[in-house]
């Protein structure tokens, strides 16, 4: 099939090679929401550990089910060892607790009095409780910490469910530029009471700025902010340095980004943006993980032929002349000589065959709750739906492959339900890794 061409040309992402390479120290899973990012990260962790790595998975998404599937009641800010991992490797997992992480930084970098002043500051309490942006900074901070501890030879990071996956990359730089900016310096200056006259002028003096801010935020909040900034003063340098270091770490050769997506238009559009952004920032992209790809064991039968055959069976039902052995044989003979790819010519003579086969009669076994041809018609319609889904998925994948032919792809066959245990994660990882070895075409369902 011609549509398969561009997909085949996309290089396959060899997940096992990536996991086995001792040079791989950090894997970052990113992508839009609802594509199975967290599950992918956990599945990679299980596989890496079972292939001998000492891995830690840092998840951001507080999905209880993931903790349960890893066999622990809940994940928290401390890496917990996952039991029942086969082989010599080890797996730890943790879930980012923004506030806890922020508190720890404060406690580690400020003397006790100063730390208490910060921790009790209302502005700090709101900031650390997880307003927009904090999650991204803290994820980066935690990644830096895990790397610095050097207890694991592989860190797998799941990125925050941002409104845009790009926020994650911007966080350190945004923090850096903010900390370097005039605004901080201005806030650090003692708050002067802004003269009303100053408001009228565009040359911005400090008094006017703080006056404006005081007016806008309320004097008490401004005081909280200023107290906070003053108390954090000594730590800002550290924040900046670490944010920069983590950003550089992400660009280093030991890091591999995996863009996770589902074969749907929006998810792949976001994935394409992300691929472009990673390239722009010099971040090393390992490939695209395409989750929930559908397959069919009967993909030689097209949707069109399946639907035509289903209609054919409907007509038989209306005639109410159940077919049997003889009819079956008649088509058997015909089928035996037909070309395997079902030429249109074969479809044309379907009605004729129907007439032939309806000539002979044999009742269906009564074990069935519906006549076999009704069930068969439903099976065919189900198959047509599946084939149409396959075609749609293929189109979206091909579109991505056309835009980014250089990006290696690993496809993961869709599962009927969610993952509930370690075996389920293992299965996902197996599907993820085996795609590299698989030949052309979609994976089998």
């Amino acid at each position: 099939m011609s549509t398969e061409q561009s997909l085949d040309q996309a290089p396959r992402l060899d997940v096992d090679a990536l996991l086995d390479d001792p040079e791989t120290r950090i894997i970052v899973c990113c992508g839009s929401g609802g594509v199975g990012k967290t599950t992918t990260a956990a599945a990679l962790g299980v596989r890496a550990a079972e292939r001998g790595r000492h891995a830690v998975v840092l998840t951001i998404d507080p999905a209880k089910r993931l903790a349960q599937s890893l066999g622990i009641a809940s994940l928290d800010n401390t890496p917990r060892r996952i039991k029942d991992i086969d082989g010599d490797g080890e797996l730890h997992a943790m879930m980012l607790d923004m506030k806890r992480t922020f508190d720890e930084i404060v406690e580690a970098h400020a003397d006790r009095d100063r730390a208490r002043a910060i921790l009790e500051n209302p502005f700090y309490q709101s900031l650390s409780a997880g307003f927009a942006g904090t999650q991204e900074y803290m994820a980066m901070e935690k990644l830096g910490q895990l790397r610095a501890r050097d207890e694991w030879d592989l860190i797998i990071v799941d990125t925050p469910p941002s409104r845009s996956a790009l926020d994650f990359l911007d966080a350190p730089q945004r923090l850096g530029s903010f900390l370097d900016g005039k605004f901080i310096r201005m806030l650090m200056a003692p708050a002067k009471v802004g003269g009303r006259a100053g408001m009228k002028f565009l040359n911005v003096g400090m008094s006017m700025m703080t006056g404006t801010l005081g007016k806008l935020l309320g004097a008490q909040l401004l005081r909280d902010v200023q107290t906070f900034v003053a108390a954090m003063d000594t730590m800002f340098g550290g924040f900046r340095t670490r944010a920069d270091a983590t950003y550089k770490l992400l660009q280093a050769p030991g890091t591999a980004f995996l863009v996770v997506a589902a074969p749907e238009r929006d998810a792949l559009r976001e994935a394409a943006f992300f691929v472009e952004r990673l390239a722009g920032d010099g971040m090393p992209l390992a490939g695209l993980v395409l989750n929930r790809v559908h397959g069919s064991g009967a993909d030689q039968l097209s949707a069109e032929r399946a639907l035509a055959a289903a209609e054919n069976l409907d007509e038989l039902g209306i005639v109410d002349q159940p077919g049997g052995q003889a009819g079956g044989r008649a088509t058997n003979d015909h089928g035996g000589t037909a070309s395997p790819e079902g030429a249109p010519a074969e479809r044309k003579d379907l009605p004729e065959q129907a007439d032939q086969s309806s000539a002979s009669a044999q009742p269906y076994p009564s074990a069935a709750t519906a006549p076999a041809d009704t069930v068969a018609a439903a099976l065919l319609r189900l198959h047509a739906e599946r084939m149409q889904l396959l075609a749609r998925e293929r189109r979206t994948r091909d579109r991505f492959a056309a835009l980014h032919p250089e990006v290696p792809v690993a496809q993961v066959a869709a599962l009927p339900g969610d993952v509930h245990d370690l075996a389920g994660l293992r299965d996902i990882a197996e599907r993820l890794a085996s795609d590299a070895a698989e030949s052309a075409g979609g994976p089998a369902a």
Binding site: R174, G181, V204, M209, S358, A378, L382, P416
Partner: protein, 319 residues
Amino acid sequence: MVSGKGGTGKTTVAAALALALAEEGKKTLLVEVEGRQGIAQLFETEALPYEERRIAVSRQGGDVYALAIDAEQALLDYLQMFYRLGGAGRALRKIGAIDFATTIAPGVRDVLLTGKACEAVRRRNKDGTAAYDAVVMDAPPTGRIARFLGVNAEVAGLAKVGPIHKQAQAVMRVLQSSWTAVHLVTLLEEMPVQETVDGVAELRAAGLPVGAVIVNMVRPALLGEAALAGAEADKPAIARALSQAGLGGASRGAKAERLVGPLLEQAREHAARLALERTERAEIAALGLPTHELELRAEGVDLAGLYTLAAELRKQWNA
């Protein structure tokens, strides 16, 4: 407010809801807050600026206006509107204060986004009538919705006096009133349903009014479990039926016979999905909220599809 887990189609449902309201003759504003330009894509128009722009007209005299709220612009607007600080806004941006306020300062971004939507809700024409009959927001995902909408309460606590305090309180009053309803979009899958259940609990705890659950992308049941069991019990009969339909021979190893296994496998997956969907439906029903279902549009939702969804929503909503 229309929320939902990522991937459930909340933007599509928000757009369909806005269209449905317009079809009732209402002047409707459809608001986007996450900078994705999803509305422009759905309505097949160019990217939306920070400006209320008519994007659809209904025969019933209603219109859909759309607005992509940009937090930075909203802040500058706000400064201009309340303080006539247009010039100072530029200066604030230069020193990074705007960036600070919209990206780093706790909650300011969410206050601005919800504040702008509430401003549209409360806006009046010169003759005193409401500028919009309805405002539909394509809101942040379910996992963040309670925090997003509750931010004003938090900010009002943080800034105990001053205009931000007043503004945050005013917004909270609108959000907690009967003027507001938070609708949650879900799929009949475990994670989105779980997130919906959690979201409802969080919204209720925050005193925010929960509206309806909209189950999106519902797929038809093509084959019941009983019929599947029958088929499993007599595979040769299925092979013969397929053969009759012109798909090759029914004898062992012939073309039609070889189809039976894979087709039944797909039917088993289908049956497993139906069983799962039953469980999920029961969970949604246990929430005790009005529930609407929208069928999957396999080819994706284009403009015509959006109108169909809107008509369907209207029918169910008025039923």
